[in-house]
């Protein structure tokens, strides 16, 4: 009785969005309406007939005739709004939403059972497992703290610390868990702030400078966000996209991603710094040096680099080198798995700790995303959606090349502010790739895939857009009063402009310059198209 009263109180306090049961039902109803009530459109039946998807599903004993094959396609489409609702409202943990994908695939017999299981056992899931394990050890031994204090400890004055903070956090965010960095750095920023304002206060009472507090916290938060474009190791969302490319037989290497993404990170970091310095140009405290003593104190407190830190650093460098230069034979999963082995062998962490620290939620979500990608591709749903979107985009002359990349990244960027970044990639990736392939532009589907994935790092304008935002908000409190330094609406106020700037930089520097300078391997569009049209051929 008491329990249900508490639950009711919680729902009342959190508003409509926190009513998880309601959204669970809404998502299920959406699936039922699309899958079982709405009649199968003629265009779907034609799609499965013309492109051979129906024939293949019949051969696999997944459907008995073309009508049933089209219905299976419709069922797969019904899973998309359901997943969007669950990701956006957190009606279910993201890992459980991921698990729903194979569950539906098994129970509605959407794919042969061997294929469903394969999505959970490829190179890409092992890659993510290793990335997650590496994060556990790096954070456990405190290497992220050491690196952050090394980078920031020497700075003085006002502009230089902000510039160094933004550039270093964006680059670090490409390789080290941005959530962990946010969790460590937010209280450090609060300490830097207190040191700076205390030195500026005349009496015993601290004269606060809220603009400075916002400058420091938003610089940290947004710089970590934009770091996501730098490498596949930045987060599951990038790994998901790598997995989709592999499914189309056009896998991208770790180093290749870095060639497209890494040059963007310092520029985006610099843009964060300049934008923040401009927005908060009226700060009263123009010298952070007294506050930066907090970082020096932290470095002093840490003492010399420990054995565990040295092993973790060595492991990180080794894995990174193998990812970049290891060649196709090792794949991405091979080197990544060393992150599970090295810490145990060298005695810096134990097996149970690593297992306990891995975010299985993220891993299951990611594997589920690969299942959804396979479902969309094999049923013809991805191609059907891609054609519809391309027809719409053609009317505004954005159906291929730069226009398509801008449109897709804009949509992906907007979507990621409302739901999980990995969820955004999981849902948009399988549709974006066939769109790119159908556009026939050389370099696809890499170009559109990168466009979609890059923009998922720009969840600047809603507090719930990424855990980084929520963590910086939650931990960013004035130490003397306990009040929050920023408010949720501040993300809209200061983040939206930066969201547009981040996209614009990606469009100009990424799509117009880096894409042309780095170029794309010849024939990838044809290879991917062949996979997409295998059934028809």
């Amino acid at each position: 009785m008491e329990h249900s009263k508490n639950e009711a109180d919680k729902t009342k306090k959190g508003g409509l969005l926190s009513n998880k049961m309601l959204w669970l039902i809404v998502g299920a109803v959406c699936f039922i309406i699309i899958g079982f009530i709405v009649p199968t459109p003629q265009s779907m039946i034609e799609m499965v007939k013309e492109h051979g998807f129906g024939k293949r599903l019949i051969e696999w004993n997944v459907a008995s005739d073309m009508a049933e094959a089209a219905w299976k396609l419709k069922l797969v489409l019904g899973m998309i709004p359901m997943a969007v609702i669950y990701f956006a409202t957190e009606a279910l943990p993201i890992g459980l939403v991921g698990i729903l994908m194979p569950v539906f695939a098994y129970f509605f017999h959407l794919l042969p059972k061997k294929m469903i299981g394969k999505t959970f056992a490829g190179d890409a899931p092992l890659f993510l497992l290793g990335v997650l394990a590496m994060g556990v050890t790096v954070i456990d031994v405190g290497l992220h703290k050491r690196i952050a204090t090394w980078i920031l400890g020497w700075t003085k004055g006002f502009v230089m610390p902000i510039l160094v903070l933004c550039i270093s956090m964006s680059v670090l965010g490409s390789f080290i868990s941005a959530h962990a960095m946010a969790a460590f750095m937010a209280p450090v920023m609060a300490a830097v702030y207190m040191g700076a304002v205390s030195a500026n206060s005349k009496g015993e009472k601290i004269e606060h400078d809220p603009e400075l507090a916002k400058l420091l916290l938003f610089s940290l938060c947004f710089a970590l966000n934009v770091g996501g474009v730098g490498s596949p190791a930045a987060g599951g969302r990038n790994v998901i996209m790598m997995g989709f490319w592999s499914d189309y037989n056009v896998p991208m290497s770790f180093g290749k991603w870095m060639m497209y993404g890494l040059p963007l990170t310092p520029v985006l970091g610099l843009a964060v710094a300049f934008y923040m310095l401009f927005i908060f140009r009226k700060v009263k405290t123009k010298d952070l040096t007294p506050g930066l003593i907090a970082i020096k104190e932290e470095t002093k407190r840490m003492g010399k680099m420990s054995y565990a830190e040295k092993v973790a650093l060595g492991m990180m460098v080794l894995i990174l080198v193998l990812w970049i230069f290891g060649g196709d034979g090792l794949g991405l999963g091979g080197p990544a798995l060393l992150a599970l082995v090295i810490p145990v062998i060298f005695g810096v962490s134990d097996w149970k700790k690593i297992l306990g620290g891995i975010s299985w939620d993220a891993w299951f979500m990611y594997c589920g995303a690969l299942t959804l990608g396979a479902l969309l591709k094999e049923s013809g749903a991805a191609l059907w959606l891609a054609q519809i979107f391309l027809e719409g985009l053609d009317k505004i002359h954005c159906a291929k090349g730069l226009g398509l990349w801008i449109g897709m990244s804009g949509f992906s960027g907007l979507m990621t502010n409302f739901m999980s970044d990995a969820g955004t990639t999981a849902l948009l990736g399988p549709i974006a790739i066939p769109m790119g392939i159908m556009s026939g532009v050389p370099g696809e589907p890499w170009a559109i895939g990168l466009a979609t994935a890059f923009a998922t790092s720009f969840a600047h304008f809603l507090i719930v857009g990424t855990p980084n935002n929520a963590i910086v908000y939650g931990l960013g409190v004035y130490p003397d009063t306990g009040k929050n330094m920023i408010s949720p609406i501040d993300f809209v106020k200061y983040g939206f402009g930066l969201f547009i700037i981040s996209l614009a930089i990606t469009w100009v520097l990424g799509f117009m310059i880096i894409y042309n300078v780095v170029g794309f391997p010849e024939g990838i569009t044809e290879t991917a198209k062949a996979v997409l049209m295998t059934a028809a051929q």
Partner: protein, 146 residues
């Protein structure tokens, strides 16, 4: 960052002298001369450690301690007591005070107890921070919960 101390004692001269001695050791000290005044200050500010005299007119030390713990559960409290009020100090520790000190206290001992109280508060805060980060990492939307 300086450790923030709230010194609560109705003996103004004693409080001011002790506050000054702590300030010279780089603490940020705020004084209050009654339980009520201490609570008013606590409503406005966070303190790491409160040094609380057990015997005060009006709201006594135990009453003030209960109110402080209700208002700011993370603030550690050191009870200042005379020989005649040790029982009260022990009772205070049972309801959440970190430790007690006999008046007049030696500076080194006081510093040791302040640092111990501060460490305990920091550890507690770190655990809370970790739990919050774990929660927000898996569910950013939970940041909107009251």
């Amino acid at each position: 960052m300086k450790k923030r101390i709230l010194l609560v004692d109705d003996e103004k001269e004693f409080a001011e002298t002790l506050a000054e001695r702590l300030r010279t050791r780089d603490f940020h000290v705020t004084e209050a001369f009654s339980g009520n005044e201490a609570l008013e200050k606590l409503k406005e500010y966070n303190f790491d450690v409160t040094i609380l005299d057990v015997q005060m007119p009006g709201m006594d030390g135990i009453e003030a301690l209960r109110a402080i713990k209700k208002l700011k559960p993370l603030t550690e409290v050191l009870m200042l007591t005379g020989h005649g009020t040790i029982e009260t100090a022990i009772e205070g520790m049972k309801i959440g005070a970190y430790d007690f000190l006999l008046k007049p206290c030696e500076m080194d001992l006081l510093l040791e107890k302040i640092n111990g109280a501060y460490e305990r508060k920091s550890e507690h805060e770190e655990r809370i921070r970790k739990a919050l980060v774990d929660k927000l990492s898996t569910s950013p939307m939970s940041v909107l919960e009251k």
